[in-house]
Symmetry: C2
Subunit: 395 residues, 2 copies
Amino acid sequence: MTDHLPLTSPQDPKPGSQSALRHRNEQLIVATLRELGPLPQAELARTTGLSTATVSNIVKSMCAEGLAHTSPTTSSGRRALAVSLLESPHVVVGIDFGRSHVRIVLASADHQVRAEKSAPLPVGHLATESIATAATMLADALAESGISRSDVMGAGIGVPGPIDHRTGTVIRGAILPEWVGVNIVARLEEALGMPVFADNDANLGALAQVTWGEHSAVRDLVFLKIGSGIGAGLILNGAPYYGHTGITGEIGHATIFDQGLVCRCGNRGCLETVASTALMIELLSRGEPRPLTVQDIIARATSGDAAALRVIDDAGMAVGRAVANVANMINPEIIVVGGPLAALGHILLDPIRRGLTRHAVPAIGEATTVVMSSLGDRAEVLGAVSLALNHTRKH
Amino acid sequence: MTDHLPLTSPQDPKPGSQSALRHRNEQLIVATLRELGPLPQAELARTTGLSTATVSNIVKSMCAEGLAHTSPTTSSGRRALAVSLLESPHVVVGIDFGRSHVRIVLASADHQVRAEKSAPLPVGHLATESIATAATMLADALAESGISRSDVMGAGIGVPGPIDHRTGTVIRGAILPEWVGVNIVARLEEALGMPVFADNDANLGALAQVTWGEHSAVRDLVFLKIGSGIGAGLILNGAPYYGHTGITGEIGHATIFDQGLVCRCGNRGCLETVASTALMIELLSRGEPRPLTVQDIIARATSGDAAALRVIDDAGMAVGRAVANVANMINPEIIVVGGPLAALGHILLDPIRRGLTRHAVPAIGEATTVVMSSLGDRAEVLGAVSLALNHTRKH
C-alpha cells in the first residue's frame, strides 16, 4: 500500500544508484520544461547543465512513455528538435462516505470542480450497498460532465473511522461498525476500475484545509471533526501525518472522566461520551415526543434555548480541555473545527477556546488559534480529491 | 534563528533558479565522490550525467572554497586531474544544563566521543554562573583532547525548559526559573566563541534515541523525561518536531485531576502534580527526619518498600494515562522513558504500560512499545551533540 505515505516522504529510488540519478535528471528536465516551455534539446542541456547525451536519452524515453514529444524547430539558425511536455487533463474523483451520506466530486489537478453529487445512505448501511451507490454516482457524474473514465487517474476515499495502513482495512472503533474488517481499497478498486487511495475522514478534512481552504500557508494544523464521533486530522511540518500504523487523531477517546460513561471503544469517560452530537441528542431529547436531530439542536441554540446552550457549552469546554492537551504536545498554529455543528459558530467556538486557555500551558493557549472550517460539509470530499491528486501526480 | 529547522526541511534555494540548479549539481558531485572516492573529472562527468563544463566549473569553485582538491593522475592512459573531497575533522560540542548539573561532550561527526566532563551546579544557579562553568569545562576538554577551538564547528545546548524559537529565550514554565527571559543562544555564542544551537532537553533526549541509541530506524518516537518536571521530545516522520512556536511535548501539564493541586504553570491537577519526582519526594518524606532524595526512593523501591512502590505505581499509572492520550493522537512506534528514575526499570515501566493500555484506543495500546532509555543520564548531552552536527554539516 502506498496510500499513507506522507507527501514529503522521499519516494525516490536509493540516492546514488543509477536509477536515482536518472530519476533526478528526468525531474530536472521536467521542471525546466514546465518553467520555460518547449526548448530545443541543445538549449535544454545548456540550461540544466546536463550533457547533450544525457538529455537526448532521457527525452527519448519520455517520448516513448507519452510524457513528452519533439517537433522540428530551428536553434541559432540550425535545424533542431524542440521538446515539449505532454500533460493529460488529469482528473481525479473524491468520495466521502459518511454515516448517512455519500458525496462525490470530480475535479482536475488545478482544483476546478468538474462535477459534484451527494446522496443519503441509510444509517447502518453495509459497505456493499454504499460502494454500489458510489459507483453509480460516479458513472452519472462522468456522463454529465463528458469526462471519459480513462481520463480519471484515481479515486480518493474518505471513511469515518481509522484505517490500518498495513492491511487497508477499516478497524474496530469506526463510526461504521458494519464496515469493520472490510478491505475498502481492494473493494473500491474493483468497483470503480481505477487506483484507490483511502483515508480517515478527519485526515482528509485536515488535508482540505491546506489544499482548498484559506490555510494553505499553515504547516501545523489540527482539523477537529465533532459529530456522532469526534476525530482529528493532523498536518505536521506541512504534510499529512499518519504515525506508525496510520491510526492518529483519536482525540474522541481522550479520557475526561476516569469513572465516566462507557464508550464504544471499551474505555470510560472518553471525550465522545461527553461532547459528541449523540450525547447532546441524548441529553436534550429527555421528555421530548421524539429524539431531536442535530438540526433541531442548532436551531434551539441559535434561538437562545438555555438547555441547548448549556449542553453545547459543557461539550465545548470538554473539547477545549482535550484540545489543550493536544496543543501542549504538538503546538499547532491553528485548530479548525468542522462537522455538522459548524453553523453554531461562536456558540461552540467560545467554550472550546475557554477550555483550551484554561487547560493549556499559558504560552500555548495564547499562541493557538481556533476557528470554524469555511469548507462546511464539503471538507472531507475535497480532501479526498487532494489525496487522489497527491498520489497520481506524475512528478 | 535557525536552530529549530526540522532536519528534512528543504534548506535549498528556490527550485528552478540558477543557484538551485548549481546547488543540486554540487550535491550530486559531493555524493558521487563520497560514494566512489577520488575520480578524474571526465569520469565524474560520465558518472553524474553532467557536462564536463559543468563539472569543471563546480570543481573549480569547490577547490576555491577548500571543499575539494585536485591532483594529477592518468585516465585511460592520458593525463587527467583527480578530484577528492577535503573533509575537516568536524568536531562539535554538546552541553546539557540541568537543574543541578552541567555536562559536556566533545565529539566528531562519526559519533566518536573525544572528551566528556560533568560538574554539579547549585540548585537555583543563575545563567551567568552556569555559562561560565561550561566555558571553563570546554576549555579544559579542548586542552586535554588536543583539539583546537577553531576546529569546533558549533555547540548544541540543552536546557530543561521550553525555548521560544522566535526569540531564542527561555520561557516561563522552565524548571530553571532563574533563566527565564535569558537569551541563551546569544549569551553562549559570546562566551564560547562559536555558533550555538539551543533546544529543550527532552527534544534532545528524543534526538539522541534516533542518532546514538538503538532506535535509529524509528520514524515516530516519543522521549518522555520524568524528573522534577515531566516533558516529552518528539521525533515525527523521522525528524525532530517543533510545532508552530517551538514549545512542544508539554505532557507534564496534561490535566489529570480537574480540581487537583495547583501547578507551577498556573493550572490545576497537571501530570507534574501527581507524577514528578518532586511529588514522590513530598509524599514519601512525611515523618522522615530529612527529605528523601531520588536515590533514596529508588533504593527503597528496589528493596521492596511498600510505600515507595505504591507511590511509583500511582505515578506510573498517571503517566500512562497521559501517554495514552498522546499515543491516541500521534500513534508513535515507541515511547522511550528517560530521566533520573531509569534505574527503576520495570517497577516504573509496568504501571506506565498498564495506564497506557487502560486509556488508549485498543489498536493503539497494542501497537505502542514502552521502554527505558539505554543512554541513561547522557541522553540529553548526546542529543546536544547531534543537534550541533545537524546544523554544522556542510552538505
